[in-house]
């Protein structure tokens, strides 16, 4: 568990971090909470020549409530997501998902930015960010750009972030109307990561029909995804047992489902449907 030799630089500002990255080239890595990067380095699965530590940057910390969105800065640790009254009020599913990550030490150090950029196929937060239609703000040499969550996750450990870019914050549009949310997870008994994690947001019309359902799924495919077909199947329907059952039949449409020692493709797809139904029931109940 000894990483290969590397250089270390502590950035004192976002600008400096960007400069250090630019100068070092694409092999250098940002270090946030270190809860994904350091284990990879200790196993020598990653051997970056330089770590640019952004951990102390005040510019990348804090949760801000704006007119119609909540902006969560990149360095916000999971423990803060789990404990923040603002988050619990606006997005209870985010608090719930963050509270279920790893153990207390991991939650105190690990950050939302690192979690999203690392993009482990079993990470919890990507599912939530998808369901909440978070917008991911990236700063690079050429300035700032905003990537919608659905365009961000591209593959296992692969996102739309370009070398030299830094994720600065995630902007979450506030929920409106009769909306309920839920996050349901089947944790792997060893790693604690999601074998299946489903984030659900359900907005109901005054007559109780589903105006909009948004479903983010993690653990199931090569990367977290929106279960668009399942969402569509619910739209305009009363969220009763049969509607939910019909919707979750589409839970993995178009997705290449993972199989591993713990859960085969078939079982994982089953768990995905099962937990999606559960998440939907909970979200609908919370909305009603």
């Amino acid at each position: 568990m000894i990483p290969a030799a590397f250089d270390y630089a502590r950035a004192s500002s976002l600008e400096e971090a960007l400069r250090l990255l630019r100068e070092a080239g694409p092999e250098a890595k940002l270090l946030a909470g270190g809860q994904s990067l350091l284990p990879m380095m200790k196993l020598r699965l990653a051997e970056p020549p330089l770590l640019v530590d952004i951990g102390g940057l005040a510019e990348l910390s804090g949760i801000r409530l704006e007119a119609n969105e909540l902006a969560i800065a990149a360095l916000t640790p999971h423990a803060e997501l789990a404990g923040s009254a603002q988050v619990a009020e606006a997005f209870p599913l985010l608090a719930r998902a963050a509270a279920g990550i790893g153990d207390l030490q991991v939650r105190n150090l690990g950050t939302i930015g690192g979690n999203l950029v690392h993009a482990d196929p079993g990470s919890d937060l990507p599912a939530v960010v998808l369901a909440l239609e978070g917008r991911i703000v990236l700063r690079g040499p050429a300035g700032e750009r905003v990537v919608p969550a659905e365009a961000f996750f591209l593959g296992p450990l692969t996102t739309a972030i370009e070398p030299g870019e830094i994720l600065t914050e995630v902007r979450f549009p506030l929920l409106e109307g009769r909306t309920g949310t839920a996050y349901v997870k089947h944790p792997h008994p060893a790693s604690g990561y999601a074998v299946v994690g489903v984030a659900a947001v359900a907005r109901l019309a005054p007559d109780g029909r589903v105006e909009e359902a948004r479903l983010g799924v993690t653990g199931v495919g090569l990367h977290a995804y929106r279960a668009r077909a399942a969402e569509a199947a619910l739209r305009g329907r009363r969220p009763d047992a049969s509607a939910i059952e019909e919707a979750v039949a589409h839970a993995t449409d178009g997705v290449e489902v993972n199989g591993d020692l713990y859960a085969s493709e078939e079982f994982r797809a089953h768990l995905c449907r099962h937990h999606m139904a559960q998440a939907l029931r909970e979200a609908v109940a919370a909305a009603a």
């Binding site: 000894i2 030799a5 196993l43 792997h188 008994p189 790693s191 020692l261 859960a263 768990l271 099962h274």
Partner: protein
């Protein structure tokens, strides 16, 4: 003074452990120390064409690189030390570093010694090994098939041992043929990774001027390590000191004599500088011994009214690529002899095949053999109960060896010392409200909820053991224990013991015993262990032996001290020794309470020696070596209550009740702690743990990301109860309790899950009972039902 025996004192060892003031092997730093790292084979089986370390030797900070060739004639092979007789045992050589052939993924090929850990680790990547990969075999039954790749050319069919036990194969066969009911099952007791919290580590220091070598290592038995290292390294025993400092869990995996620690000692002597090596976690998964890995074909015969008439077991034990130190004894002596469990079974026939494969060597793991035996028996008893429609508690009751038949001789030749199995069962049922729970289960089923109640009654052979028996079963050592009780001039006491506790709490329990015997405050007693330079020879801590065997030596030595103290006190008080009462730490002249001498006063006089009884030697200490006349046999009944969610296959533990009878209890808090830990490890086997290799011999569960250990949040409170049936074997009437939990809990949980799944007609699934297995079984059962209905 109230007796300390039976008092729930908090553990003396805990303050240093939980405040970070304990010294583990890896905490040791010596001036000029070097660091070692070991290059391990990535292949399960390959021929080594060449090893080129030239680049590594030139790497920054590297002092030396050793390959197998460098050791020839200088470091002996790694010995096997349990040579089970009448088993056609083969012990193929185990070189400390492979030079011609690697036999499992993890086999050591080279060792780098460098100025820092990082430099040593980096240099491993610069060693070029040219491997010719060869076909591997990881499954023991496949390894027995003709044409299977051979692990060692000198072992045909990969069969290293073939062993039988019981009171007659033919009689058992006849009983089975004539039986009203026969239950047959093939069971797999999966491979486990012991995963002590502290991985292995070693530090060695050599003094070229004196020729003395000190090895600190993570050991359960430093004296055994000293004898074996002395042989392998050729350092005479009087120049060799082996120390087990704080040891962070062993569970059997720190019994063996491994290549790595021997290499560290070798390098320290060769280089004349201290050398440290600490295992990485992923190394621990591959290069530290594994446990269990049995396939068992079991036949249990009985009558319609629930009396077991015969048991036949044919087990294939996977022993890995080399025969580890105690490995041959685990699937034979520690397994086969105890297959009758707590039941009076007239006929038993056990046959065991020990097989080599291209996998990590398999050794003792908490319970060692006894969990494998208890599992098959308790599973089969439940299947039998289901077959004849009898309550599993009632079936157990009917077959228990009755309390009046102790000492009881089993068909496998053991003599159970004492027991009252029914009392433990009844206590468990009562604690549980068994009848109420059965009703609740029935109600729940009507509402589509699947509760299960699983019983497991066990008897364990432990307190290893009489040395005569050790010899008869091929254990290359004695199994007695030792203690030196030394009262200092101030009346404070040090006790030096030959066993080597590493988390079991004997620093506390043994201090309680000595404090009672000598009438001194328990704070005045310090137990010293783990250092061959300080402690008398002893055989170590495993096989739940430290308390039953070690306390025998302890009590004898303490009583000798008390006897001597009495004589000195009598002399001081001018009374006859037999006219003194010893109470509250003082000798009093009977009837004249003001004429007394405290043990502290006596101790001082013993050392001053100004006026001792004629002919008495000065000082106040005594030693004892205690060899027990028999093993001890703790027993009990554990019950797990679970709920299974068929839709996801998830098992939820609702309750866990443990009734154990460990003989007399010195410290109930520590006994509870041992039971808790043991139970949890056993539950781990039932539900989560399992080492898995792919067919090429790559370990797929080689990290804690994949190998699932129990977590606090997975578990219900563990309700512990006890009955107390003293052992007649040792002076204090105690039995062992280090392994009972692990032995009992695995079948309790599996039986509970199978009980929950009974409505689906499911009666057995292989461990670990993961959600997918359960979900599939339920789905298939429903398909069958659907098919039958259609």
């Amino acid at each position: 003074m109230p007796t300390l025996f039976g008092t729930p004192l908090r553990r003396k060892e805990d303050p240093r452990l939980i405040t970070g003031h304990a010294t583990y092997t890896d905490d040791i730093r010596l001036p000029g120390m070097l660091y070692a790292a070991i290059l391990r084979s990535p292949h399960a089986h390959a021929r080594i064409r060449s090893v080129d370390a030239s680049e590594a030797v030139r790497a920054p900070g590297v002092v030396r690189v050793y390959t197998g060739r460098d050791l020839e004639g200088r470091l002996g092979p790694i010995p096997t030390a349990w040579l089970v007789p009448d088993a056609d045992l083969k012990t193929p050589p185990h070189p400390a570093l492979a030079s011609e052939r690697v036999r499992y993924a993890g086999d050591g090929v080279a060792m780098v010694v460098a100025e820092s850990r990082a430099a040593a680790r980096d240099a491993l990547e610069r060693i070029r090994v040219d491997y010719e990969p060869l076909p591997a075999v990881v499954d023991a039954e496949k390894a027995m098939e003709p044409g299977a790749p051979l692990v060692h050319e000198e072992v045909p069919g990969n069969l290293v041992l073939h062993w039988r036990a019981g009171n007659g194969a033919e009689a058992a066969e006849r009983a089975i043929a004539q039986a009203e009911v026969v239950v047959r099952r093939r069971l797999r007791n999966q491979r486990l990774i012991p995963t002590a919290m502290e991985p292995r580590a070693a530090v060695a220091q050599y003094n070229p001027a004196t020729g003395e070598l000190t090895l600190w290592l993570t050991s359960q038995n430093p004296h055994i390590h000293r004898v074996l290292l002395s042989g392998a390294l050729g350092v005479p025993e009087q120049k060799l000191r082996v120390v087990a400092p704080e040891v962070g869990g062993g569970f059997g995996s720190k019994i063996p004599f491994y290549p790595d620690e021997a290499l560290v000692a070798f390098a320290a002597r060769d280089l004349g500088r201290p050398v440290k090596w600490t295992e990485e976690r992923s190394e621990n998964c591959r290069a530290t011994t594994h446990g269990r890995d049995h396939v068992q074909e079991v036949v249990l015969a009985g009558t319609r009214d629930g009396r077991i008439t015969a048991l036949r077991v044919r087990a294939v034990a996977n022993l890995g690529a080399y025969l580890s130190t105690a490995a041959p004894g685990v699937p034979t002596i520690l397994f086969g002899l105890i297959t009758s469990g707590p039941y009076a079974i007239p006929h038993i026939d056990v046959e065991v095949f020990g097989v080599l494969t291209h996998t990590t060597p398999v050794e003792a793991y908490r319970g060692a053999g006894r969990p494998e035996a208890t599992y098959l028996l308790e599973r089969l008893v439940d299947l039998y109960a289901r077959e004849i429609g009898m309550d599993p508690a009632e079936l157990r009751r009917r077959n228990f060896i009755p309390a009046h038949r102790f000492p009881y001789e089993t068909p496998t030749g053991l003599t159970y010392d004492s027991g009252n199995y029914e009392r433990a069962l009844e206590k468990a049922l009562e604690a549980l409200d068994y009848d109420g729970l059965r009703k609740e289960q029935e109600e729940a089923r009507k509402r589509g909820r699947f509760l299960g109640i699983g019983l497991s009654s066990y008897v364990e052979i432990c307190g290893l053991g009489p040395s005569k028996v050790a010899g008869a079963v091929g254990f290359q050592g004695g199994l007695w224990e030792s203690a030196v009780v030394r009262v200092h001039p101030t009346g404070k006491v040090n006790v030096y013991i030959g066993s080597s506790p590493h988390g079991q709490g004997e620093e506390t329990t043994f201090a309680q015993v000595v404090a009672d015997e000598l009438g001194v405050p328990v704070e005045d007693v310090e137990i010293v262990h783990g250092d061959t330079a300080q402690t008398p020879m002893g055989w170590g801590t495993y096989g739940s032996r430290t308390t039953p065997v070690g306390s025998g030596a302890l009590a004898l030595a303490a009583r000798r001290v008390a006897e001597k103290a009495r004589k000195i006190a009598a002399h001081m008080l001018e009374a006859a020794p037999e006219d003194l009462d010893f109470r509250d730490g003082a000798f009093q002249v009977r009837g004249v309470p003001e004429r007394k001498a405290t043990i502290q006063q006596v101790a001082l006089q013993a050392y001053l020696a100004w006026n001792l009884p004629e002919g008495m030697e000065p000082a106040l200490e005594a030693s004892a070596f205690y060899d027990p006349s028999n093993f001890v046999y703790p027993f009990g009944t554990h019950v797990a209550v679970v709920e299974v969610e068929p839709a996801t296959g998830q098992v939820k533990l609702l309750r866990y009740v443990a009734v154990d009878d460990p003989g007399r209890v010195i410290n109930p808090l520590i006994v509870d702690g041992q039971v808790h830990g043991g139970v949890v490890q056993g539950i781990g086997q039932a539900l989560w743990e399992g080492a898995v290799y792919d067919e090429n011999g790559q370990l797929l569960t080689g990290s804690m990301m994949d190998y699932a250990l129990p977590r606090a949040g997975f578990l219900p409170p563990i309700e512990t109860y006890r009955t107390e049936t003293p052992s007649p074997v040792n002076p204090l009437g105690v039995k062992g309790v280090g392994e009972t939990g692990t032995i009992a809990s695995t079948p309790a949980v599996v039986n509970a899950v199978m009980d929950a799944l009974a409505p689906f007609g499911i009666d057995h699934l292989e461990m670990p009972l993961t959600p997918e297995k359960i979900w599939r079984a339920v789905r298939e059962a429903e398909a069958r039902k659907g098919g039958a209905a259609a």
